[in-house]
């Protein structure tokens, strides 16, 4: 943990140096490649900064050489001489040497960067011996399904758009899609990986920093690609197991008449054709599962905060918020809507 803090402060210093150089100053945020929350993303961020500084130096040298070449003073004799088809002057030999040195330096730099790239690549795909937490992510248009696979099958569960992870444990994320190609990208945690129908890919990382990070689909997947977000919540081991145990349960039963009526609205309308609520006949995975909807912080693939007001807007006409998404508008009387919202907000 201590080591991690050190690296953190180093990034801040680097960031400050950088601000003086160019405008890469404020890269803060819950979705930044250079604010790593895992050692894996940290290695990649290191590689980025090495390449960044090398590039700034190369650009400065080339630009200086170019400016010198353009504005060098020429003697009058030089200016009026006829074009020489086989020049063999002192200056010519100097230019040849300079070009040869520049080329040698270029090749050397490229090989160093290549070596760094290889070692970084090895490091970020390293799988340690300890037993990892295995999660399966399935891409849907346009939401994320996260399956927590438990050794006890009945304790496994499926949730959507919010990936909760325990701090300090190795995570192996298996990725696939059941429609088009998506790409899982939470920049603070790790580089992206595609979710490809008919194939499985794998991401390995170890979150070492608590917090909420944002991720997003990175492969164009149609109308709502832009708002196919998700959140990653990295928690302490205790918080994580509390949440885990809770998610393993079925949905809570309605506690009053309104909620009961709300459940009836849900089960007797089109909702049931796409969504799952554990413990009820609703059991479809076209849309995200709603078993513990109220315990999530956001709705609509991390696009809206999870409030009763937003939920009402989303249920009645989600097309206004995210045009082209697969949820149809629902015509519900005000009482029915109220009951439904009471029920949905009770699903802790």
């Amino acid at each position: 943990m201590k080591r991690h803090k050190e690296t953190q402060s180093r990034y801040r210093v680097t960031g400050c140096c950088c601000a003086a150089l160019m405008f890469f100053q404020d890269l803060s945020g819950a979705h930044s490649s250079v604010e790593p929350a895992t050692p894996q993303a940290g290695r990649i961020a290191n590689l980025w900064w090495v390449m960044f500084y090398v590039s700034v130096a190369v650009l400065a040298l080339v630009t200086a050489a170019l400016i010198y070449a353009v504005f060098r003073r020429r003697s009058a004799r030089e200016q009026t001489a006829p074009v020489d088809l086989s020049p063999n002057t002192n200056r010519e030999r100097k230019a040849t040497r300079a070009a040869a040195v520049a080329l040698a330096v270029t090749i050397a730099i490229l090989f160093v960067l290549l070596g760094l790239s290889f070692t970084t690549g090895r490091a970020v795909s390293f799988l340690s011996n300890e037993s990892p937490l295995e999660i399966k992510a399935v891409g849907h248009r346009w939401w994320w399904e996260f399956q927590y696979v438990d050794p006890v099958p009945s304790r496994g569960f499926i949730t959507a758009n919010e990936l909760r992870l325990p701090q300090g444990r190795q995570i192996v994320l298996t990725l696939t899609s059941n429609d088009v190609i998506h790409s899982f990208w939470a920049p603070n945690l790790m580089g992206k990986k595609d979710l490809i129908p008919g194939q499985e890919s794998r991401l390995i990382f170890r979150p070492e920093k608590q917090g909420v990070f944002r991720g997003q689909c990175a492969e164009f997947c149609g109308f709502q690609h832009a708002q196919m977000g998700f959140l990653v919540l990295v928690e302490s081991d205790g918080d994580f197991s509390d949440w885990y145990n809770h998610e393993s349960q079925q949905a809570v039963q309605p506690s009053n008449d309104s909620e009961k009526r709300g459940r009836q609205v849900f089960l007797s309308s089109t909702c049931v054709m796409c969504h799952t609520i554990g413990g009820t006949p609703a059991n479809s995975n076209i849309g995200p599962p709603l078993t513990h909807l109220a315990s999530r912080t956001s709705i609509a693939a991390a696009t809206l905060t999870n409030s009763r007001e937003n939920l009402a807007k989303w249920v009645t006409d989600s097309q206004k918020i995210k045009p082209g998404n697969r949820m149809p508008p629902n015509v519900l009387g005000p009482e029915n809507l109220d009951d439904l919202l009471n029920y949905l907000t009770s699903l802790k």
């Binding site: 405008f23 490649s33 390449m51 080339v62 050489a65 020429r74 690549g121 164009f220 690609h225």
Partner: protein, 662 residues
């Protein structure tokens, strides 16, 4: 028989007095285009066709630019409701497809079609009818795409059209079919242009222009043409497979994993074309830069051999790095390492070129900072940035972070606008007097350059940071909480400045066409043969085919430089020379104007557009194409005199005589 000004004593060259006036009148008559609309449709003159290509491609560039402006308006602030996802997806797909397929490749090959014959000193391209056919096919493809967009059936799956998103299950309707067929059309045109350029450059050079004396621009076009020949078939195959996957009643399932197909196969085929495509656009740009730098520095190119070898090695390595577009797919690590290596190593030939250019500028005479040169200097600076971010993208682990983000959007515009459009604008300023006989306005030119340079960097530099901050590509909107708003607004303001630059260019073109300063034949004091004829050039290019003694024929022309005089003037005849030495080999009669290229293009269009709707279009189209080809190849009766003429001796420059060869 040969140059009237010829001095005795050089090898054994026959000297003879030429009847210049008679030859000119005869050439005028045999090379003239029929007047009127029919003449316009039937012409096979490489200059008319190339100018059409350039104008058409530039119009598509303006369309693509308008689409880009729409995107920048939409993204200027978060949650903007200017464009919905449906419109935005069509706009960004058509923008990308236009810029790659309808603008960049065609305008670069068009410069080649115009200048390769002039630079190598011949009268036309090798296959003039085929050349005309290529243009019509290209135009049809472009019109098809825009008819689609205007009727709200514009393709909306990206210029890369990944399956399964573009497959029959997820992209119903005709949008993707229009895209797939547009690809097939434009790639036929590109292949045609490539064949023209290679054969013209290898077989029709002026006597004495051996391989090691070919102008650098021609070398660049030759390398580009070879890349086209190897890259384009991959995408034509892929787009045809996609079309048959989508065609009701055929449904081939090449890319459908549920039926044993493979979604990644598309990506391999697409990027096997798609990465070389970038170099197909960029290498002509380097040819332009080499040409302009030599002209403005008024000295020979530093490291001619190194420059040519860099072009050729770029051409080879360019085919070995397509997988760096696929690092996020589940491919084995060792395989990825190979492509990382190749992607990083391609920086070496680019580096060699940049060092040679800087050395040429340094060793040359005092530089007059005229507009074409400014664009070249802007190119060097911008392209170096694009090259450096390219090295970053080549590194597999770093690519996993920046892939498919705005960082890539920034990178690709740095290499394509910086690497190809800046040189292209330089070239348009440089060659405008060759086309029109008038120079473009310098003050407007400088304004144009600075607006474009500043606008460009304002637009695209912030995108690097947006990518690092997590903004993915191809998004029609973003949330205010992401904090991407300010840099996006800056980028949109930059786009407005860039647009102003392009408008300045258009004004300059229209003003200078009428009021530009008269240029004379060689206003820049250039060294290549296109400046050894009048501006604009006559339909037959050169009154007498020149001969060449070194790499800089116009700079070193002497009163005793021989010209080729044995070619017939009463028919369209060109001189074919040896590939390596450019020694005269034989004479070759080029076809006259013809309507058949247009007819064949129409038959092709019926086939490819019909296939969008029914598989019956294939047999019907095959029959129509057959009829058009019969017309195309119908033999002309050859006058007997022509046969006799073939045995006439043909003395040429460098003491070469055609007698032995015929």
């Amino acid at each position: 028989m040969i140059n009237e000004r010829s001095k005795p004593g050089k090898a054994h060259i026959e000297t003879a007095t030429l009847d210049v006036e008679r030859d000119r009148a005869e050439l005028e008559r045999s090379w003239e285009t029929r007047p009127g609309f029919i003449g316009w449709l039937t012409t096979t003159n490489h200059k008319s066709i190339a100018i059409r290509y350039i104008v058409t491609a530039f119009i598509f560039f303006l369309f693509g630019g308008i689409l880009a402006a729409l995107m920048r308006i939409q993204l200027a602030r978060p949650r903007s409701e200017f464009l919905g996802p449906d419109a935005y997806d069509q706009v960004f797909t058509v923008h990308g497809s236009t810029m790659m397929f309808l603008f960049a490749v065609p305008i670069m090959t068009a410069l080649g079609l115009y200048f390769v014959p002039l630079m190598v000193g011949t009268r036309n391209v090798a296959f003039p009818k085929l050349n005309a056919f290529g243009y019509y096919v290209y135009l049809t493809g472009g019109i098809l795409l825009y008819l689609g967009l205007l009727s709200n059936t514009g393709p909306d799956t990206g210029w890369f059209s990944y399956v399964p998103l573009s497959g029959p299950d997820f992209a119903p309707g005709k949008r993707v079919d229009i895209w797939a067929q547009m690809i097939t059309f434009t790639e036929i045109a590109a292949l045609v242009a490539a064949v023209e350029i290679i054969v013209t450059a290898f077989k029709m050079r002026a006597p004495g222009m051996s391989l090691n004396r070919i102008p650098l621009f021609v070398w660049a076009m030759v390398v580009t043409a070879f890349m086209i020949i190897f890259a384009m078939p991959a995408i034509m195959l892929a787009s045809s497979m996609l079309a048959t996957d989508r065609l009701t009643g055929v449904s081939t399932h090449f890319f459908n994993p549920a039926e044993g197909g493979d979604a990644l196969l598309w990506q391999h085929l697409f990027w096997f074309f798609g990465h070389p495509e970038v170099y197909i656009i960029f290498i002509p740009g380097t040819g332009i830069v080499s040409t302009l730098i030599v002209t403005f520095a008024r000295r020979i190119a530093f490291g001619y051999t190194a420059l040519v070898l860099s072009l050729i090695s770029t051409g080879f390595i360019g085919f070995g790095l397509w997988v760096h577009h696929m690092f996020a797919t589940p491919l084995p690590q060792l395989g990825q390492s190979f492509f990382t290596g190749a992607s990083i190593m391609i920086a070496i030939p680019s580096g060699v070129q940049i060092f040679c250019w800087i050395a040429t500028l340094w060793l040359g005479k005092r530089l007059e900072l005229k507009t074409p040169l400014l664009f070249v200097l802007g190119f060097v600076f911008t392209f170096v940035i694009g090259g450096l971010t390219g090295v970053m993208l080549g590194s597999a682990p770093l690519d996993l972070q920046v892939h498919d983000t705005f960082f890539v959007v920034a990178h690709l515009h740095y290499v394509l606008i910086g690497g190809a459009i800046f040189p292209l604008f330089g070239a348009l300023y440089y060659w405008f007097p060759k086309w029109t006989g008038r120079l473009m306005n310098e003050r407007l030119g400088k304004l144009n350059f600075w607006l474009m340079l500043i606008g460009f960097h304002l637009t695209f530099f912030p995108m690097h940071q947006l990518g690092i901050q997590g903004m993915p590509r191809r998004v029609y909107t973003y949330l205010p909480e992401t904090g991407w708003g300010a840099l996006n607004l800056l980028a949109s303001i930059g786009a407005a400045v860039l647009t102003a630059g392009v408008i300045a260019f258009l004004i300059n073109v229209f003003w200078s066409r009428r009021h530009g300063a008269p240029a004379g034949d060689n206003p820049w004091n250039s060294d290549t043969l296109e400046w050894a004829t009048s501006s604009p050039p006559p339909s037959y290019n050169f009154l007498y085919i020149p001969t060449v003694r070194n790499r800089y024929p116009v700079w070193t022309v002497e009163p005793d430089t021989p010209v080729v005089a044995g070619l017939r003037t009463d028919v369209r005849e060109a001189l074919v020379t040896h590939t390596i030495t450019a020694a005269p080999d034989h004479r070759y009669e080029l076809p006259n104007s013809s309507i058949w290229p247009l007819v064949l293009a129409a038959a092709t269009a019926v086939t490819f557009i019909g296939v969008i709707f029914t598989a019956w279009a294939i047999p019907i189209g095959a029959a129509l194409t057959f009829i058009a080809l019969v017309g195309w190849f119908w033999p002309n009766s050859e006058p007997a005199a022509l046969e006799a003429e073939r045995h006439r001796s043909l003395p040429t420059g460098d003491g070469l005589s055609l007698e032995q060869q015929t």
